[in-house]
Each structure stands twice: as structure tokens, then as C-alpha cells.
Symmetry: C2
Subunit: 474 residues, 2 copies
């Protein structure tokens, strides 16, 4: 990037908010995933007007721009793979308006999920979000359509977006959507922007619907001697109908890993369901009764409910400890995010988890399956020794088969993380028949292809080869 | 339209399913609104493959195509304003798949909301929809992002669309979205298609999330001596937090009209709130208690709850009778849909209703305001003598002011009906800053502009002049 451009950028945001030192560029060269590519510069604007100028400059000098929130994405979403300018939006972190009685808030993109919910909690409200919500930014949640374990009851981020302000790729500022709960006014561009991962514009303000916090919650542990029975129990619960606010499935590998790492004392069986229900105090009582009935009639070995806050916290801590716990499963193996975040229709969860186990056995590698089974979202970690070429060979074949199985089951390769770089090759297969429409929209809105180029459908590489190369190099 | 084209269309669907007689074209020249324009032909395909051929033919011979469901839209959505071919999708009326335990169904676009809900009811599920659901088709509900009075709790159609099959404007068939509750895989084109009103493609199959039917419901009538108090009561209820499944506001004009027309015996006061709560039996009890408290502390003159099925039905019948009732308000006046279906943030409802009353007084015409105040959606009917030029002059000015007020209050010109022709001039004002993006997407996907042309943002006429002309002509 020419010094001339850097100077112009400096004029826009001031000396303090443009960085070009190698150390700082390095910090912005990756996200929470495994890809890495250095930007030419990093800029930290404070206002929409500054962003408008930056985007217009990018069109004039044709350099790539990559918007970035907290960088918690796992698939290289904000990695500047073609260099250029990373736009760090974390200075835009104001909760601008609270309209509790109108069920909406207006925030800047750099507000964290945690900070927003802390403010909303004062009024008895919240918005659902991802496990990374302590640091994840609202802008990033919108741009990836992030969600978490309570999506079966509460939906994903897209369901909360009522409107937004964006700077489109050519530098035009537009207000999309509305401040009303209902809106049938033309193309719902605010929904199109959910999941665009910084390729169609920069989100500078978001209007979000809010949901009332439940009065009470209770958590159950249900134990099963087969994965199939646990899966059937989930299906029976939904069909009752009974929609829990959380429903997590842990297979044997995960149970062992968590017990070993954090001494949870979980029952040593094939499958456990963690079931959370919420609502008014009386409603929770009703739901507990129904959950007990369904679990027993589905063949649970035991079902234990608790509304004790300490035990509830301990149980969710165990669930959250799963990823770090898996690293302690075998001292010689580390967890690698190769196949992760697949989603299938809920009733297919047992078949998916069983298939993953068979694939794991076939290629002689350890694959831990767990997930938000209440919404069919499965997480899988490959445990391997990344210094061994043979492990990479096995993993590559196993991952290929896992994604194929997910697509065969009518599932998607990403339920809540997004595509980025890691999932792009599989995305191209899954969405083959709508890629043309996506590319036409991208070209129409971003004719110079400056917005986060070489992401999502603009990708042809084999990610495992890149990944392997990267690890072997280090 | 050349006979050659008609012959080719006949070859696609067979003799029985293409119509060109004047009587039949006339039946397809309008929807439930007030605009009228004759098509050149009407076709009734049964399969996606037939639609693919029709769309490719339209691109070859460059004639407009206008998809149509039951024709219940109120703003001219499916009126073939540029002539061409109307595609009636009502033969595609199969509920293809029910996946209750996976919380989704797959339907063809011509399935009615009523038929789908009748099937879902057997399993204890439903999807919310518009008041016209007895005849409205799912395809049309998606294409207009339709919704009804329970949207504050249950959302609009867009919130239920997980995926769909479409024939894009150039004839490509694509599957959009997924069958999973969560999906972060690229651009959410299935959400962009909600509200496109037939301008971006033809929806040939829809995958919808379903919601559990509540165990119990109860309805309250709360009476207030001012509109402001009723409005404040709504705000207090939401902020409590307490989200009713229905919340309807009736102002004095509406109360008088309903009492006169169907002898409801509603209290003769300034404002009534009809409040519906639903949930589990115990949850409904909790909510009734809270609603009573909030209504009383907000100054209600009286609050009467009922869970008696007959009385509940009678109350909603009164609400539903409002539009026909208004015609009996004054024997010399008829209701004309000039300003309708505006939505504002809920707390602005009293200000909006008061302003509409002032505008009504200023121009000396009767305007009845009512609406789904729980979600800020307001319906307004102008009562006028359409044979009087002076009434048209007054109405034109009043409507202009009503829409301006709605936009000033941060609202939208359409909450649940869509834009079509009637609302296009106001839509152009409301969405000024995102029209370019909408037009770019339209041009990218439909370069020949064959899909429902001259609708939404492709419109420059003054609708009241057209309307007046139409009525004066008859």
C-alpha cells in the first residue's frame, strides 16, 4: 500500500488510529481460527462518516478492505487474505438507544454481546448469542448470523435484526429495515446482510429486537446407554411439543474428557443429554414434569433436575469446558478444528454422530462429537498429532467423509460459525445451485470487489492443504 | 402476445391450463385491492419444471410474467400492470413433507395457510399468518412477508422461512437456505426472497419452521377514557416484560361502528384494548394476573378476562367485523383503502392515532383508526363518498399527511401488506437511501426485467390520481 494512501487514511481518522507496524499488523493477521495473512494497514474509525471516506478511497485506489470486530470467528472471516486494509470497528462501541417498551435497541457494531446483555438485564431483557459472547461484537454476530445453544427456542441473530445502517461497497450510506417489529416494505436487505461476512458492506449501526428474560430456569441431566436412545429422546421431546431453551448432547469421548479434565463426575455412559427449560415459575414446573416423562419413556437410565444455581452453573461449565477438556483426552494429541459446526435436522443427530464415530474408527483417528442437539448443530473436533504426516492424511479423508455425510442428511456445513476461508470449499459444494445468484449480487453491489475479497464463494483452494502447509512450516 | 407464444405455453402445460378468454383475463386483472390491468394470458402450471420452461420462454420473447397466489393482496401486487402472463400457482397445493420432530414442513406455494394449519393442528403445531389466512397461499405470504395480529409474540412469515426452491428470473432453479434451524452458510437469499413480491423469482417450494400451539388462551377487554392511557398501558405491559399473543386497539369510531353493525355491546368509551395471552395453563394464569395489574395501574376503567370459548370467539369476531362494520358507520360513506397498514414503534401508537384524528378533523373526513397495537401496526380506513370530487381532494391531502407523520415517528408505510402499486410512491420516499441497492439486485438477477415489472421501486405514478380516475370512470 502506497505511503500516499496511508497519508490519506491518516487524514481521515487521525494519527492515533492508523497502524502499520509489523507487530500490530501481525495481531490483525488472524482471527480465532488457523489462517493467517498480513494486512498492509489497520484503521480504527469512530464514525460512519469516516468509514464512508475510507470506502470511497478504497474504490479510488482499489485496495481490499476487511471489516473486523473482536476477531472471534473461527474460519478466517476477517483474515485479510489479499492484503489491504483491516477496519477494526471496536471503537464504535456505544449503545446508542434503548427502547424497552418498543422492544428494540440501537447499537454500534463494536458493542460486545456481554455489554449489551448487561445493560438489557437491568430491564429484564436480553438477546441470545454465541458462546463467545463475552468478547464477540454485535456487528460480527450480525455479519455471520451467529447463534448459540438456545437457538432452538430463541433463534439466531438474523431473527433479532430489525434494521441497520450500512456503508455499501461503493461508499453509499443506507438505512435498511425499520424500527418496527413488522415491516413488509420491499426487499429485506437487512436480512441479506446477516451472513454476508463483510463482503457486501460495513455495518455501522444495528437495530435489534430484544426478548424478555425468563423468570426461572432449570437444568436436567439425562443418561442413556446408547446414542440412539438419546437422539430419539430429543425427537420425542420436540414432537410432544416441548421446546427446551437448551439441549446438549455429549457422547462417550466427551464425557470421559470432561470428567478427566474437570472432575465433573458425569455418569460413565454412552450418552448424556443436558436439558434446560425456562419460562415463568409455573411454566418451568410444567416443563420439568414433561421432560421427566419424555426421558423415562425414551429409555433414560436416569434423569436428575436441578434448579440449584450452583449445580446449574457447574453443569454448563462442564459443557463449556469440553473444547479445552478434549486436549487432555490423550497427552500426545491436540484438538484441530477441521470439521466443525455442521447442522442437520434434529432427528438426524444420532445417525450423524454414529456415522462420525464410524468414520473415526475407519481412519483410526479420534473424533469427539458433541453439540446443540436441540437445534441439530454438531461440533466435532479431530484429536491428532499435527506433526505426523500420516495423521494429516487420515484426517483429510475423514473430514471429507464427515461433510459429505452431513450434506447427505440434508444438513449444512455451518450452523452458527459462518463460511470464511475454512469452510469455503465445502460451501461451494453445498450451495452449488445458488452460487451464481450470490455472485451476481456481490458483483452488483461491489463491482470493484474491494469488500473482504476471496471469501465465501470467491475461493478455490483446498483448505486442508493450506492448513497443513502452515503447520508444517512453523 | 403472439399466438406463437400462446402455442408454446400450451405445449408446456397442456390445453386445460392456459386461458385467454376476456372473462378469465378479467378475473386475473385485479387482486383484493383497487387497481386493475388486463393480462394477455393466464397459465396454471403444476411443476417446477413447467415454470422453468415458462420463465425461459419469457426471457426469449421478452414478455412480463406475474406470479399469483390467491390474489388476497390489497395493493395490486399481482396486477399485471404491464400486461403479459399471469402465473397462477394455486395448482401447486401439496403439503409435501411433515417433519414435526425436526420442527419443519415442506410445502408447495399454493397451499393455503388454513389447510397447512389444519394439518399441523393434528400434531399440536401451527404457523402464524394474516387475517386472510383462510384463502391466502403460503407462497404469497412469503413473497409479501405477511403477518397478523400475533406477530409481537410469534413474528412474521420471514421468521418461519428456513429454505425454499425458486426459479430465478433467468430460469435457473435454485434451492436456497436449508432444512436446519440454524444456518450460517453464506448470503441468506431465502430471507431476501421474503417481501420481493414476485420481482426476483418464482417460489416453487417452501421449507417452514413450525411453532407449538399453546395449551391455553384467554382474552381481556380493557376500557380507557383516553387513547393515551390505552397506549401507555401497552407500553407498560411490554416493559413489564409481558408479551401478549394479541393486542388490539380500538378507537371510538371503531367501537361505535362495531356496536352498530354487530351489536357487540362494547363499552361506549374512547378506547378499548383487546388483550390475548397464551401458553401453558399455568403460564396463562400468571399472565392474566400480570395483565390485570398493569391495566389497573395504567388507569383502565375496567378489565374483564374470559377463557370462555364462546365469548373469546365473539370478541375476535367483533374485531374482525371492523372493516365491514365501518361501512355502516354512515350510510352515505364507504370505506376506501387509502392509508392503511402503517407500522410505528409501539410506544408511538397513541401519538399516531391522535395525529390521525387531528388530520381527520382538519380535512373534515372520517378516518377510523385501529390496529395490532402490540406490534405497532395501524390500520386506517378513510370513510368517504367516492363520487364527490371534494372528498377525493380532502382525502388526498389527509393521506399525504398521515404517511408523513408515520415516517416522522420512525415508522414504515407497510407493516404486513407489502408495497405493490398502492404504496409504491410512499415507499420511494421511505426507502430513498436503499433504492439503489434494491435496483442493482433486481437488475443483476432479472436483466430483462420480466418479473412483475413496474412494482415496488419501479414506479413513478401518483396512486391517488390513478385511483380517482379509476373510480370516476366506473
Amino acid at each position: 500500500m502506497d505511503q500516499q494512501i496511508i497519508d490519506k487514511l491518516r487524514d481521515i481518522v487521525g494519527e492515533d488510529h492508523i497502524r502499520t507496524s509489523t507487530a500490530e499488523l501481525y495481531a490483525y493477521s488472524t482471527d480465532a481460527g488457523i489462517h493467517r495473512s498480513m494486512p498492509d494497514a489497520v484503521i480504527r474509525p469512530r464514525t460512519t462518516a469516516e468509514i464512508e471516506k475510507i470506502v470511497k478511497l478504497a474504490n479510488e485506489y482499489l485496495f481490499p478492505i476487511v471489516p473486523r470486530g473482536a476477531g472471534t470467528a473461527l474460519c478466517g472471516h476477517s483474515v485479510p487474505v489479499a492484503g489491504g486494509l483491516v477496519i477494526d470497528l471496536q471503537r464504535m462501541n456505544t449503545i446508542k438507544e434503548l427502547h424497552i417498551e418498543d422492544l428494540y435497541v440501537v447499537v454500534e457494531p463494536g458493542v460486545t454481546h456481554k455489554d449489551l446483555n448487561a445493560e438489557l438485564k437491568k430491564y429484564g431483557f436480553f438477546i441470545p448469542g454465541p458462546s463467545s459472547g463475552n468478547v464477540a461484537n454485535i456487528g460480527g454476530m450480525v455479519a455471520t448470523n451467529a447463534s448459540g445453544g438456545n437457538a432452538v427456542k430463541y433463534g439466531a441473530t438474523r431473527d433479532y435484526v430489525l434494521g441497520m445502517e450500512v456503508v455499501f461497497p461503493k461508499g453509499d450510506i443506507a438505512k435498511l429495515g425499520s424500527r418496527t417489529l413488522k415491516n413488509s416494505a420491499g426487499y429485506q436487505l437487512e436480512k441479506l446482510m446477516c451472513g454476508m461476512e463483510g463482503t457486501l458492506g460495513i455495518i455501522t449501526e444495528i437495530t435489534l429486537r430484544i426478548a424478555p428474560l425468563p423468570e426461572a430456569t432449570a437444568v436436567a441431566v439425562a443418561v442413556f446407554d446408547t446414542l440412539e436412545k438419546a437422539g430419539q429422546c430429543v425427537a420425542n421431546m420436540i414432537a410432544r411439543p416441548l421446546i427446551p431453551s437448551g439441549l446438549e448432547l455429549m457422547s462417550r469421548v466427551c464425557i470421559e474428557a470432561v470428567n478427566k479434565a474437570v472432575c465433573m463426575g458425569l455418569p460413565d455412559e454412552e450418552a448424556i443429554l443436558l436439558i434446560e427449560v425456562d419460562g415463568s415459575v409455573n411454566d418451568v414446573k410444567d416443563q420439568i414434569r414433561k421432560v421427566m416423562e419424555v426421558c423415562k419413556s425414551s429409555g433414560a437410565l436416569s434423569v436428575d433436575f436441578t434448579d440449584d444455581p450452583e449445580r446449574k452453573e457447574e453443569l454448563w461449565k462442564g459443557r463449556k469446558a469440553m473444547i479445552p477438556s478434549l486436549s487432555k483426552y490423550d497427552d500426545d494429541l491436540v484438538t484441530v478444528m477441521l470439521a466443525d459446526d455442521m447442522a442437520v435436522p434434529m432427528s438426524k443427530v444420532p445417525e450423524a454422530v454414529t456415522a462420525f464415530q464410524e468414520i473415526s474408527d475407519k481412519y483410526d483417528i479420534v473424533i469427539a462429537s458433541y453439540g446443540h442437539s436441540g437445534d441439530g448443530n454438531l461440533h466435532t473436533k479431530v484429536l491428532m498429532d499435527p506433526t505426523k504426516r500420516s495423521h494429516w492424511d487420515q484426517a483429510e479423508k475423514a473430514v471429507e467423509e464427515i461433510y459429505s455425510k452431513v450434506m447427505d442428511l440434508g444438513g449444512t456445513i455451518t450452523g452458527e460459525h459462518g463460511v470464511g476461508m475454512t469452510k469455503a470449499p465445502f460451501f461451494l459444494r453445498e450451495r452449488k445451485c445458488s452460487l451464481d445468484a450470490m455472485k451476481m449480487i456481490k458483483m452488483a453491489l461491489d463491482p470493484n470487489n474491494i469488500m473482504n475479497p476471496n471469501k465465501i464463494m470467491d475461493w478455490e483452494d483446498n483448505f486442508i492443504s493450506r492448513l497443513r502447509y502452515h503447520l508444517e512450516e512453523e
